[in-house]
């Protein structure tokens, strides 16, 4: 029987690309977003909820386990970004970003790890960003939220290792997603110049990293932050 991967934020962008990729490889995929998804596949199950809502996370993950099967891979992709000068950043932006990026990642990780601990382990992949190591101007709160995700990743990797659960994070460079479409072109060009490999990322770059982290032979890799494009 195929294993099940749960991916957050599958309505569009990177989450959608990962869902379609794993479905094409024969995985059963469960995904979520706050709004409806038009992704149609016999092995795809969509749930509408906010990853920062504790009750919704608990109820949905129990439902997935009971009606489909326990989760083998969790990909915490859902995230929000907001570019603004620090002095012009409303508290509401801070709260929204931390709620989705940090609280959402934590809740999904906690509840999925409980399932995994009873079903022989699993793989958890969080999403960070090069905004953190590059200290990108205009992204102070977003970068801070991703720094929190990185710290959570490293500590969770230690605490969950005994349960045969690996926890790693991928830090993509900018790619053509909705998250960056409002960022001025010259800002993106300046950002790309800080990478060792100076180009925008692609979905394939991320899919390759996901494949690497979930393959059976990667069971000795945990607590790692994998930035793409040669950022460190």
């Amino acid at each position: 029987m195929s294993d099940l991967a749960f991916i957050t934020g599958t309505r569009k962008g990177i989450g959608r690309a990962i869902a379609e990729h794993l479905l094409s490889q024969g995985w059963i995929v469960a995904g979520c977003s706050r709004r409806e998804s038009d992704l149609q596949h016999e092995n795809y199950h969509h749930f509408n909820f906010d990853v920062s809502d504790e009750t919704a996370v608990i109820d949905t993950l129990k439902k997935v386990k009971k009606t489909i099967q326990p989760i083998k891979v969790l990909i915490n992709n859902a995230g929000v970004a907001s570019m603004n000068h620090l002095l012009l950043t409303p508290l509401k932006s801070y709260e929204d970003i931390f709620k989705t990026n940090v609280q959402g990642t934590f809740l999904m990780l906690r509840e999925t790890a409980k399932q995994m601990s009873r079903s022989g382990g699993g793989r958890i992949i969080n999403f960070t960003s090069i905004a953190n190591p590059l200290n990108l101007e205009g992204e102070a709160i977003y970068a801070a939220s991703k720094a929190a995700v990185e710290s959570l990743t490293k500590t969770a990797a230690k605490e969950l290792a005994g349960m045969d659960i690996t926890v790693n994070a991928i830090g993509p460079t900018p790619i053509e997603t909705d998250l960056i479409k409002l960022v001025p072109k010259e800002k993106i060009e300046a950002l790309v110049k800080q990478q060792s490999i100076q180009r925008l990322g692609t979905y394939e770059d991320i899919l390759n990293t996901v494949d690497f982290l979930i393959k059976p032979q990667s069971d000795f890799i945990t607590g790692q932050i994998l930035y793409l494009g040669g950022v460190n």
Binding site: K114, Q115, R118, M163
Partner: protein, 103 residues
């Protein structure tokens, strides 16, 4: 959602027995209401207790369709931890189930 106290006690004892078999700790094979779950008199370390709490939550959900979260902030802030002994843990779980039934 209903579960008898005796059933809950036996569930917890089963989990402890299975853990005892895994860890080779004989004290966990025969437990009673007074068996300590943590503290200097307990044979369990903090990770063992984490596993037990997770296991109770999952089995209550899978086998009895009871969905509760044991590690709440109210439990952690109590002067006397509900996880001190087997008996107090069972009482605490019943309290949570009752509370959820009344909501």
């Amino acid at each position: 959602m209903r579960i008898e106290r005796q059933t809950l006690l036996e569930l917890l004892q089963t989990i402890l027995r299975e853990l005892g078999e895994d860890l080779g700790k004989e004290t966990l094979l025969q437990t009673d209401e007074r068996t300590p779950l943590f503290g200097s008199r307990s044979d369990l370390d903090s990770m063992n207790l984490v596993n037990i709490i997770t296991e109770i939550e999952e089995r209550l959900s899978d086998d009895y369709d009871i969905n509760i979260t044991l590690a709440s902030s109210s439990a952690m802030s109590r002067t006397r931890s509900p996880f001190l002994r087997v008996g107090s843990c069972v009482d605490y779980i019943l309290e949570l189930i009752e509370k959820q039934n009344n909501e």
